[in-house]
């Protein structure tokens, strides 16, 4: 039973003012601009775009400002805003082979066409504080330029293995069907690959990282190699109804990860490496790698593997990866449950009373 209880309006209005003051912090310290966040907190912006499932760097920066840097609250703002916008349609599938590459590495081939391009990465830093950053107004670092640019396109590593027939092929199903959209239709199980990949792409980075780690530690039975990680800009093509042909809407930054995993074969298929795929907005490498490992783990059914571990169980993974939903359900416990709780309290008192009465009756009978 729900009983409407009035009150709290003035308290809620006051908390809005208080949170605004807290968000601003010490007014003697200059206020952050959205542009500063967009430019200087780009990895946080990428995370918010992924988990908010909306590519818009300015909006993600605003969301971070408004939420005091709470990534999940920021993702929630992105999701809520998205629901207010009309959907013009779907893009053409992005072509990551044509990416304008800024980083591209492979842990499986030392010498591969296009080379190992480290790009901007924290991988080779010593994780020691740079106290010079604590002082503002330092010099603006200009990175060196090579004489020649990178190769215009670089082959994707699984395609190299695929050409030899050593890699599980990845081809569109008959008729290249439109993908399932979980923002429009409820997820059903067993879930197809398109459902799984969409869910993982918007899933919580921490949750996917934990699952990927569990797979590596033995709760999954795959042994992944980072076949390739690439990051850079990709054009978004869209068929414009007013024109009757497709145009380029601009470019977005993407990170793609291709995990190469141990073999599978069948009576009519010789043993091949198997794939896991990760694709995310912005430079978001840990998420792309985690996604690729979990994608492979979720292929357990396809390869006839027993799904003994959490990362292989699609209902468990797909139902719990979304941090906006998860936060909503966990945090709803903060809302008033006065009546529910009164019911529990009454029940507990009744049980105890009955138990005491029974004990008293037993004592009397024994005397």
């Amino acid at each position: 039973m729900y009983v409407a209880v009035k009150g709290g309006e003035a308290a809620i209005l006051a908390t809005h003012d208080l949170v605004a003051e807290e968000r601003r912090g010490d007014p003697a310290v200059p206020e952050l601009s959205v542009a500063q966040l967009r430019e200087q907190m780009a990895l946080a912006v990428a995370r918010v775009m992924n988990e908010g499932s909306l590519f818009d760097e300015d909006l993600a920066a605003l969301a971070l400002k408004q939420s005091q840097g709470d990534a999940i609250e920021a993702a929630f703002l992105m999701r809520a805003y998205r629901t207010t916008l009309p959907r013009f349609g779907s893009s053409e599938p992005v072509d990551t082979a044509a990416m304008a590459i800024r980083r591209r590495i492979s842990a499986t081939y030392k010498d591969l066409p296009g080379g190992q391009v480290l790009g901007p990465t924290y991988d080779y830093t010593h994780r020691l504080f740079d106290f010079a950053l604590a002082a503002e107004g330092g010099e603006v670092k200009i990175a060196p330029e090579a004489v020649a640019p990178l190769d215009r396109t670089m082959p994707r590593v699984p395609d190299i293995l695929g050409a030899e027939g050593l890699m599980e092929p990845e081809t569109p199903p008959e008729g290249d069907p439109r993908p399932f959209d979980l923002t429009r239709d409820p997820v059903e199980f067993p879930a197809d690959r398109d459902v799984r990949l969409q869910t993982l792409a918007r899933g919580d980075e921490g949750f996917l990282l934990g699952l990927a780690y569990s797979v590596q530690r033995g709760f999954g039975g795959n042994h992944p190699f980072a076949g390739e990680i690439r990051m850079g800009e990709v054009s978004v093509g869209f068929d414009v109804p007013e024109l009757g042909f497709s145009i380029d809407l601009g470019e977005i930054t993407l990170t793609e990860c291709q995990m190469v995993n141990q073999f599978q074969g069948a009576k009519d298929v010789p043993p091949q490496f198997t794939r896991g795929y990760g694709l995310v907005f912005g430079h978001c490498e840990r998420k792309a790698m985690s996604m690729a490992i979990v994608d492979r783990a979720l292929k357990a059914r396809q390869f006839g593997e027993s799904a003994d571990y959490p990362a292989q169980q699609e209902e468990f993974v797909l139902y719990h990866a979304d941090n906006v939903e998860a936060a909503g359900f966990v945090e709803h416990l903060k809302l008033p449950h006065y009546v529910d709780f009164q019911g529990e309290l009454e029940l507990l008192r009744k049980i105890r009373r009955e138990q005491e009465e029974r004990a008293a009756a037993n004592r009397e009978a024994a005397e």
Partner: protein, 152 residues
């Protein structure tokens, strides 16, 4: 020039709209700094929405929905020509400017001037920015070498 030598008009427009989608609003405003926007009729008012960005499993396999991106569109008419703008982001003023420029560039009277003043420089600047980003990435390319040990 025979008709067969003329570039495909759709390709011309694709190149134009791709360049304009990447342009700064300020560069577009400068085109109209003197006389202001020409008379035009708005067929579809500026509107921000989303496009669902699709990917492919493994880069080449089954299509899946990666997530949405904000897109702003606008359709105008200038004289006899319909101008269209669809570009990533939420800049409505830019959408109007691009649609007007797209219409003007279908008109022989404006095409060459806008190509010289706007599209050409935009294309050069983009090529230069891409080249610079690529050369900065190329500076981080690993050059492997083998250490030779002992006496040969």
């Amino acid at each position: 020039m025979s008709r067969a030598d003329l570039p495909d008009p759709n390709e011309v427009r694709k190149r134009r709209l791709a360049l304009l989608a990447r342009a700064d609003r300020a560069a577009l405003e400068r085109v109209f700094a003197g006389a202001g926007l020409p008379d035009h009729c708005v067929l579809k008012a500026e509107e921000t929405g989303t496009v669902m960005v699709e990917g492919r499993a493994g880069g080449a396999g089954r299509r899946f929905n990666l997530g949405e991106a904000t897109v702003t569109r606008c359709v105008v008419r200038v004289g006899d020509h319909m101008g269209v703008s669809y570009a990533l982001g939420r800049d409505k003023r830019k959408a109007r400017l691009v649609a007007v420029i797209d219409a003007l560039m279908q008109d022989d009277a404006h095409r060459d001037a806008l190509e010289a003043e706007l599209l050409g420089p935009l294309e050069d600047a983009l090529r230069e920015a891409r080249d610079r980003a690529s050369r900065k990435a190329a500076a981080t390319k690993v050059e492997f070498f083998t250490l030779v040990r002992g006496e040969g």
